[in-house]
């Protein structure tokens, strides 16, 4: 009887989508791809915001300005975001303290919006000096973390990655691989860590949400088998 019921269940058609998404490797790949594209998209858009600050644009130049920075910057951001987005649920799992704060897409969207807002503020608002800019951005980033994350692991990872990324960027700049379009060097250095931190928190949030979805589907699948 067990067999027959099993057979009926197995014979129940399951869409290819479910079948694909329940495969663990495939799922990681899908999540990675989604996070990658989110990262690339955000990198392009935010880069555009930064470009606007310094250059006056006219319509024919727009498309070229989208790709004005080095070509490898968006892919780098994309892979970094994929890595971070996969890392966060992993760390949650390892530490055994699941993210308890509101885990809903609306909250994630809010987080992304605030992140873009922080970028917007750093690009559009004129600050008196760089210290003020740094302090404001730091307060905003911490606020972002507190509102949407509140986990110690998230904070630690965020700070670590932000410092690392800033270091890497500075090394690249000193070695001449990468150059800022802006002549104002200090300006960029002052916002970079905060933006990185906020970005890590945001991507981590998205990654966790995606992982949650995976869990659900996988559980469902195990159920059915």
């Amino acid at each position: 009887m067990e067999d027959t019921s099993m057979a009926t269940k197995l014979s129940a058609p399951r869409g290819p989508y479910i079948a694909v998404i329940t495969n663990r490797t495939t799922n990681v790949v899908i999540r990675g791809t989604m996070l990658f594209s989110v990262g690339v998209f955000l990198a392009l858009v935010l880069n555009l915001l930064q470009v606007q600050r310094n250059v006056t644009l006219f319509p024919p130049d727009v498309l070229s300005s989208v790709f004005s920075s080095a070509w490898w910057v968006p892919p780098c951001c994309g892979s970094a975001s994929a890595l971070i987005g996969l890392l966060y649920p992993c760390i949650d799992h390892c530490l055994g303290e699941p993210h308890k704060l509101k885990r809903e897409w609306s909250s994630v969207m809010r987080c992304v919006a605030v992140f873009v807002g922080i970028n917007h503020a750093s690009a559009k608002v004129d600050f008196a000096n760089n210290v003020q800019l740094s302090l404001t951005l730091a307060a905003l980033s911490i606020g972002l973390w507190w509102t949407f994350d509140r986990s110690r692991s998230g904070f630690g990872l965020g700070v670590g990655i932000a410092l690392l990324a800033t270091l890497v960027t500075q090394l690249l700049v000193y070695n001449g691989v990468f150059q800022y379009t802006s002549p104002d060097f200090l300006y960029i250095r002052s916002w970079l860590p905060c933006i990185f931190f906020a970005g890590v928190i945001t991507i981590g949030n998205i990654g966790r949400q995606l992982a949650l979805y995976e869990c659900k589907v996988v559980q469902e699948k195990i159920h059915q088998d």
Binding site: M1, T4, S5, T8, K9, A12, F41, V45, L46, L48, L49, V51, Q52, T56, L57, F58, P59, P60, D61, V62, S65, V66, E104, W105, S106, M109, R110, V112, A113, V114, V116, G117, H120, A121, K124, V125, D126, F127, A128, Q132, L135, T136, A139, G143, C215, K216, Q219, E220, I222, H223, Q224, D225
Partner: protein, 1209 residues
């Protein structure tokens, strides 16, 4: 009470009163709120429309000086942008030309050919104009704005627009300013048209740029009625030289006098252009808006269980939006003008203010008990969430205030808006949204009443049908429909279709609506009004539109001409009599630039890579030029091919035509729209006939109690299947046991009844003979009565204990399955040799019990229904043990006074463990006592009957292993029941003639330090759980303790073990542990419940637990991750059963509910009786024939689940 708590209470009370108010007077409050919104938004009318429209400022020409860069004293007069020199000065020469007098020998082309031809001589004149004075010679070349290359993308226009020279544009540019090319051009209109962009365009067309007036006003058309051609020659000057311009003006006026022209030439207009929104800026903006919409979508999706989801979602969005508008309006009212780009910060403001509170409010209100009045529901919902809402608002205000102290002006302004927005949002939530919610809930309520009435009229039928297992067995067609319905696919497609349709409508612009609107807007925009007023006093006033004031340039044609015209005109039917064109100068010509698209100047300059964003240009007063051409001249300049263009048979006035087209298209569009909407509506009805179970399904159960429906809002039909009620017990049922065929139950009165599990017939009654005993002992008459209770409450000499619990039925029973009190009581009694107690010298446990009640009363999980399983109140009967028969093992009368605490049924033997510590074996069929063992003195709290072994757990923590022996070897015993089905091993069937002996094989003293609460046996293992926080595993054969499992931080309340050696345990700490029985290691450990875990069941893939918090949690067995949880009604989530791998049954208030485990869907609810209130199902057994037995007060209820059988086979 701390300040915090007091504050909390006050807030809660205030919200409660407010909720009552809102729900009582919905309409006045909504009106009041709307009025206040409008009032607050009123100041917004003064603000310029958002957008990139230019702003104008007018100064006089006479005393014009280039404004300084630094702001001067008189700031009030000048706008902020009016600083420094303009990008350019624009001098326009407005030419009006007509061929007059008109005669019928002229062809339509003549209307514009020769007037346009005159542009070349005018250009020549302007270019060559030189002004000489003491400071030198000045020509246009030295003053004009020199332009360089066109942008690379505009190569196409290279031949037309000037390059490397003065920026001077006129219609002559079409022919490279060469008269020869113009004369050779056979088709002027074609030349002009070929540079028009095809299809959709939003920026200025080349034609508008070159002609400098709107297309309709140029008169360059074959069907022109007025036969006056208007165009401008536009010169951009880099520096302002009043003398040169004055001489140019004088020269042109002298050459081409416009006698009656009254255009004012004493003021110049400065036009400031705001920042352009290019694609580069648009991309981030669009991104933020997309994120915003995603946020709103994901938020409003959570609104559930209301009458109209869309309505409430709309109300939520309206709440946020109007709070933003109010915030801007209020800020404007108090003198703060927004300097930030509204469109940019708007999404962030929405996100900061958020929809969370609104959603929390909705959720809280809909989760209040449905049977309450609407008013009370609203009030209760509000007050439940009051504290969190207030905390939220306070936190957000705090964060924003911190932001205010960043001292960055832009951020400060943002924060100011956000603060005011938050406050007004709070106000709107409280008044507007709450009221809307109350209206919505009231509508929903009405619906229920209606449906309930309908429902009552029709007889109930048994409806256990396909929907119950819609996920398992459904025809494909139905599945498709369900899929459509579940995903709301049809609505979404319809919505997307409508949006696309509207988009296409706007895009293709069939009616020229955009042009019309643009014209309207440019006329009505504040530009016109704000530019003129300061000068109206000075300049001569023209009443606009008054025909008498339009001064005709031409003297009225001689009367002799008119009849000639008439006589010539009537030859073609419907031909409008040609009249001589009249050139008139009206006030409408004065501000020709206003009629042009606002983007004319920016686009002209952007061709040369000059931006006007955030800069301004100064427009000098136009130079009017009037040209009168004679018909002879027109004929001379005619191109040979021009005569081919014959006037159309029915020329129509363009104005009328335009108007008519507009109305016609509008009417057609409207009709088409209505038709489409109707069509889509019909389509929608056809495609989605299902009402998602919200409205269409009669909600009988709503009135009985609110059970959650599944996440799609689908609530399955209530089954009116009547369960089989097994009546007979006089008191509440305490123990329930079954072996699949038979069913044994024991009530509080001590009576054991045996039922046939298939038919529900009562087979045997093993009476307690309480009355007999009472007559013999003389003190027990009250056992079943209810008389002398008063003494019980106060006196120490009271033995009416059984009544005590009947007296206090409203008290929650704390003793279900968990002997909290046992230590208290047990320590007093376990040492006492029962036989030495005098009969009437009972102990009053009332105090103890009361104290225990008091201790437990404040605990948050009081919600248990009165449960008769609590044996403690009957405990004093231990003290009565001396009355019992001195020969305990005689098959005759046994001790009727001690109650049955545990019962098991195997084969046809009932094992009953009594509070006196006695173990009895009864024949289930004959009702005779087969065997009795009295080795232990401590009460038996739990029994396990496995094959021929009985394990008894006692109150003092010891564990006794008994062996049931017959005079036959075990191998000869008959086995009963189908092997392999279910988890129960085949049990031997003891025949009545066999002599059965029950021997204590081993007694493990002090198996636990504290009373054993749970005992389970399966797969050759016996597992015990105790108050001392440990679980022990024994081997059944040799009663050897294999493991002591430690991991809980509270007493064990439930254990599950099955044949596959899965062991799960739940404790009072709310934790659930999964153990490996082979190694004794802990597999996983999760915290799932607030309060005790009351029940635990496993399937092969998941663990199901229920807790005192009325939550049923479903966990993944391998990973320990919570899959989902089901919030149950208060006080009913204690009993659980798994029918098959995917079917869960839970007991509720007078009902049992079936759930699909895979999806968490509620499949069916079966009500056990009519008077279901207050009777909870506490014990639930799943029999092997897929029937469910549950206790229901003093009755047993047998529910068959036929569809389950169907599925299993």
């Amino acid at each position: 009470m701390t300040v915090r708590e007091r504050l909390r209470q006050n807030i809660s009370a205030a919200f409660y009163r407010h909720g009552l108010l809102c729900a009582s007077y919905p309409v006045p409050i909504v009106l009041f709120t709307s009025a206040s919104i409008l009032t607050c938004c009123y100041p917004l009318l003064k603000l310029p429309l958002p957008g990139t429209g230019p702003v104008v400022f007018t100064t006089g020409v006479r005393d014009y000086t280039i404004p300084y860069h630094e702001p001067q004293g008189e700031i009030g007069e000048r706008p902020e942008w009016y600083r420094g020199p303009p990008v350019a000065y624009i001098q326009q020469v407005l030419v009006k030309a007509a061929v007059s007098p008109w005669d019928n020998t002229l062809v339509p082309v003549d209307v514009f050919r020769s007037p346009i031809g005159r542009v070349f001589s005018l250009l020549e004149e302007i270019r060559n104009h030189v002004y000489t004075d003491s400071s030198g010679v000045r020509s246009l070349e030295s003053l004009c704005l020199q332009v360089t290359d066109l942008l690379p993308g505009l190569r196409r226009m290279q031949t037309i627009l000037p390059e490397h020279g003065c920026l001077l544009v006129s219609p002559g540019n079409y022919w490279q300013n060469q008269r020869d090319l113009f004369d050779l051009d056979s088709d002027l209109l074609k030349t002009i048209h070929q540079h028009e962009p095809k299809g959709f365009h939003i920026s200025t067309s080349l034609r508008d740029l070159l002609f400098g007036v709107m297309k309709e006003h140029t008169g360059v058309s074959l069907y022109s009625k007025k036969r006056v051609v208007t165009y401008t020659i536009t010169i951009a000057l880099s520096s302002y030289d009043p003398r040169f311009l004055g001489s140019l003006r004088a020269r042109l006026k002298q050459l081409h006098p416009s006698l009656n022209c009254t255009l004012r030439d004493d003021h110049m207009v400065h036009v400031h252009f705001k920042e352009e929104i290019g694609i580069a800026e648009l991309i981030p903006l669009v991104t933020t808006y997309i994120i915003l919409f995603a946020y709103i979508y994901f938020s409003t999706r959570k609104i559930d269980m209301v009458k109209s989801k869309w309505g409430l979602a709309l109300a939520a969005v309206v709440t946020v939006l109007s709070s933003l508008l109010m915030s801007v309006g209020l800020c404007t009212l108090f003198g703060l003008t927004p300097t930030l780009n509204g469109g940019e910060i708007f999404p962030y403001l929405v996100v900061v203010i958020g929809l969370e509170n609104v959603l929390v409010l909705t959720k809280s209100v809909v989760s209040t008990p449905v049977d309450l009045e609407v008013k009370l529901r609203i009030a209760q919902g509000l007050s439940n969430e009051s504290w969190s809402i207030m905390k939220n608002v306070a936190t957000e205000l705090g964060i924003i205030l911190i932001g205010y102290f960043t001292l960055v002006p832009a951020i400060q302004e943002f924060c100011l808006f956000a603060v005011v927005g938050l406050v007004s949002d709070f106000f709107l939530q409280m008044f507007f949204f709450t009221t809307v919610l109350s209206i919505d809930i009231r509508r929903m309520e009405r619906l229920w009443f209606l449906l309930a009435d309908l429902n009552r009229q029709s007889p109930h039928t048994i409806t256990l049908q396909a929907p119950a297992f819609r996920n398992l067995r459904l025809p494909k067609r139905l599945r498709v429909v369900y899929f459509l319905a579940r995903t709301r696919l049809a609505q979404r497609i319809i919505m997307v279709g409508t949006v696309i349709w509207i988009g296409i409508l706007v895009y293709t612009d069939p009616a020229g609506l955009r042009t019309y609107l643009a014209a309207q807007v440019s006329e009505q925009s504040p530009l016109g009004e704000s530019g003129l007023p300061p000068h109206l006093g000075v300049a001569p006033v023209f009443p606009g539109g008054d025909p008498t004031s339009t001064l005709s340039v031409l003297p009225a044609p001689e009367p002799t001409i008119i009849p000639e015209n008439h006589s010539n005109g009537h030859d073609s039917l419907g031909h409008i009599t040609p009249v001589s064109p009249q050139i008139s100068w009206g006030p409408e010509d004065e501000d020709g630039w206003k009629h042009l698209y606002l983007r004319q100047w920016p686009s002209l300059f952007s061709y040369y890579n000059i931006t006007l964003a955030k800069r301004y240009i100064s427009i000098l007063p136009v130079i009017p030029v009037t040209l009168h051409l004679s018909p002879q001249e027109a004929i001379e300049t005619r191109h040979p091919q021009d005569t081919r263009h014959q006037p159309p048979p029915i020329p129509r006035t363009p104005d009328q035509q335009n108007d008519l087209t507009l109305y016609k298209v509008a009417a057609l569009g409207l009709a088409a729209g209505v038709l489409l909407v109707l069509l889509l509506f019909c389509l929608y009805r056809v495609l989605c006939p299902r009402n998602y179970g919200q409205n269409g399904v009669p909600h009988g159960r709503r009135r009985r109690g609110d059970l959650p429906c599944d996440e799609y809002g689908y609530s399955p039909p209530v089954s009116e299947i009547s369960p089989l009620l097994l009546r007979g017990h006089s008191m509440d049922i305490e123990c329930l046991a079954s072996d699949g065929m038979l069913l044994a139950s024991c009530c509080l009165a001590g009576q054991i009844r045996v039922w046939d599990a298939q038919t529900g017939d009562c087979l045997t009654i093993i009476p307690n003979n309480g009355l007999r005993r009472s007559s013999s002992s003389g003190g027990w008459e009250h056992r079943d009565g209810g008389a002398d209770t008063g003494a019980c409450l106060e006196g120490a000499e009271c033995d009416g204990y059984p009544l005590r619990r009947r007296l206090t039925p409203s008290r929650p029973a704390l003793f279900v399955d968990q002997p909290d009190l046992t230590p208290l009581i047990d320590t007093n009694f376990s040492e006492l040799p029962p036989s030495q107690k005098p009969p009437k010298n009972g102990f009053d446990f009332g105090e103890l019990v009361d104290r225990a009640y008091q201790e437990h009363e404040p605990s948050p999980s009081l919600a248990f229904t009165p449960s008769p399983t609590a044996p403690q109140p009957r405990r004093p009967s231990v003290g009565d043990q001396p009355v019992m028969s001195p020969d305990p093992c005689s098959p005759g009368p046994t001790d009727w006074d001690s109650s049955v605490w545990a019962m098991e049924l195997r084969g046809n033997l009932i094992a009953a463990g009594r509070s006196s510590g006695k173990l009895e074996l009864w024949d289930a069929v004959e009702g005779s006592l087969r065997c009795c063992n009295e080795d232990g003195v401590s009460g038996i709290t739990a029994l396990a009957f496995h094959n021929n072994r009985i394990v008894a757990a006692r109150l003092n923590g010891s564990l006794d292993f008994f062996t049931v022996e017959t005079n036959k070897p075990l191998g000869l015993l008959q086995y009963r029941g189908a092997p392999g089905r279910g988890s129960m091993p085949p049990s031997p069937c003891y025949r009545s003639e066999d002599v059965i002996n029950c021997q204590l094989t081993r007694s493990v003293q002090c198996a636990h330090q504290k009373p054993i609460t749970v005992l389970r046996a399966a797969a050759g293992r016996v597992v015990t759980g105790s108050q001392d926080h440990t679980v022990r595993v024994y081997r059944l054969e040799d009663s050897c303790c294999l493991f002591t499992l430690q991991g809980h931080s509270g007493g064990i309340t439930s254990i599950y073990i099955d044949q596959t050696m899965v062991l799960a345990s739940g404790g009072q700490d709310g934790a659930i542990c999964l153990w490996d029985v082979l190694t004794g290691s802990r597999v996983s450990h999760v915290y799932g419940h607030r309060g005790d875990v009351t029940s635990l069941v496993c399937t092969t893939s998941c663990v199901i637990s229920s807790g005192l918090d009325d939550l049923i949690c479903i966990w993944d067995r391998s990973t320990g991750i919570k899959l989902y949880s089901i919030q149950q009604e208060v006080g009913c989530g204690a009993s659980l059963g798994v029918i098959s791998e995917s079917l869960l049954v839970t007991g509720g208030q007078g009902c049992v509910s079936f759930w699909d485990l895979n999806f968490g869907d509620l499949l069916q609810t079966v009500y056990l009786g009519q008077n279901s209130e207050g009777q909870g199902v506490r014990q639930l057994l799943v029999l092997e024939n897929a029937a469910i037995v549950c206790d229901f007060g003093s009755e047993l209820s047998l529910v068959y689940v036929p569809s389950v059988l169907e599925k299993l086979d």
